[in-house]
């Protein structure tokens, strides 16, 4: 069992910065965890921005489970650190 499993379970909903052993950096909010992976929901800071026409939302096909979020193998994680959360 990865030592990161309990940490992720205890911190669902918190924004984190994950560095994997191969050097990749992921930032996101811990969305869900299973025995092998942690799924991070992207945060605004990761987004490529751009300027739209006023529409911003997302409705997946009728109730299909969330298909998004970066899935990171727990065994591949080198470090996890909290990121400061923004409050209005």
């Amino acid at each position: 069992m990865s030592r990161h499993y309990d940490f992720c379970c205890q911190n669902i909903g918190r924004p984190v910065r994950v560095v994997t052993k191969d050097g990749q950096v992921h930032k996101g909010v811990i969305h869900r965890v299973n025995r092998s992976k942690v799924f991070l929901a992207p945060m605004e800071g990761n987004r490529p921005g751009g300027y739209g026409i006023g529409y911003y939302g997302y409705r997946p096909y009728g109730g299909y489970p969330w298909g998004l979020g970066v899935g990171i193998a727990l065994g591949a994680i080198a470090t996890i650190a909290f990121l400061p959360f923004f409050f209005w």
Partner: protein
């Protein structure tokens, strides 16, 4: 740079004939989003996929093959190519990577408020998300809106992280003004309120003015542009931008090319807010 052959990518997705939703998400990522991701080098493919979905890209669904086949038969590409050539020349605009995709048919907000058509622009890239029912005038309005962003972003070129809330507000106001000027008052976003001067001043003082210099990546930026949370009126930044432009252009003869490349301060100084 050009109108990319996204129809081929969509065809490949349709030809994958996957009935399994997990596979569909994978093909959606690999065949639709991955080819785009090489133009967004600082973003992971999953973040890009999520971002495009939130801005109107179709999501995978069990019945999407038939919908997408119908979409592929539409003559959207030639129309957009013609619009691009025309306005690139008349606005002395930049070349751009244009990506045309089907829009999300499951979003009521998108279908009802935006007639199923939406877009997203960058200094060098432009996305158009179109429904199966998109009309020529709607596509033209959307293209004018988005390409005006690309022109202005390119003209006042700086790293995206340095664009401010004021930049965004004026950008959106100009886009809406141009759409109406070119296509008539019945075009453009019909949900944009004509704020009374009292409302505009109240909202501007309360929400916009204290944050006018915050930049694109600040969390308050999109909150103030799109609103609908924390008591902020929906699409506040768009409404204020349109109010500023209608006030500025009132009783003036200004060409589209002049307004398109006008400094924010020139516009803002001229109106009473």
């Amino acid at each position: 740079m050009t109108v990319h052959s996204t129809n081929k990518w969509i065809q490949q997705y349709v030809d994958s004939h996957s009935g399994n939703m997990a596979d569909k998400w994978k093909y959606h990522k690999d065949l639709i989003c991955k080819p785009v991701s090489k133009y967004f080098t600082n973003t992971s493919i999953l973040s890009l996929q999520d971002h495009l979905l939130r801005h109107g890209l179709f999501p995978p669904s069990p019945e999407d093959e038939e919908l997408l086949r119908k979409w592929l038969k539409k003559k959207y590409f030639q129309l957009v190519e013609n619009l691009y050539e025309k306005y690139r020349s008349s606005w002395k605009g930049p070349s751009a990577n244009i990506f045309i995709f089907p829009s999300n048919p499951f979003s009521r907000d998108l279908t009802e408020k935006f007639s199923g058509c939406t877009g997203l622009s960058y200094p060098k890239h432009l996305f158009l998300f179109l429904s199966n029912q998109a009309k020529v005038k709607q596509i033209t309005a959307l293209f004018l809106h988005e390409y005006s962003h690309t022109c202005r972003l390119q003209y006042f070129s700086k790293p995206e992280a340095e664009y401010t809330l004021l930049d965004a507000i004026i950008l959106e106001g100009i886009a809406e003004y141009i759409v109406r000027k070119k296509l008539g008052e019945d075009s453009g976003n019909d949900w944009i309120n004509q704020y009374s001067s009292m409302e505009a001043k109240e909202y501007y003082e309360k929400w916009i003015k204290p944050n006018i210099t915050i930049t694109r990546t600040h969390p308050k930026h999109d909150l103030l542009m799109y609103g609908n949370r924390h008591g902020i009126p929906q699409n506040l930044g768009y409404h204020i931008g349109y109010y500023i432009l209608t006030q500025f252009t009132k009783d003036k003869e200004i060409s589209i090319n002049d307004i398109l490349y006008m400094e924010n301060d020139v516009i803002l100084k001229d109106i009473n807010l």
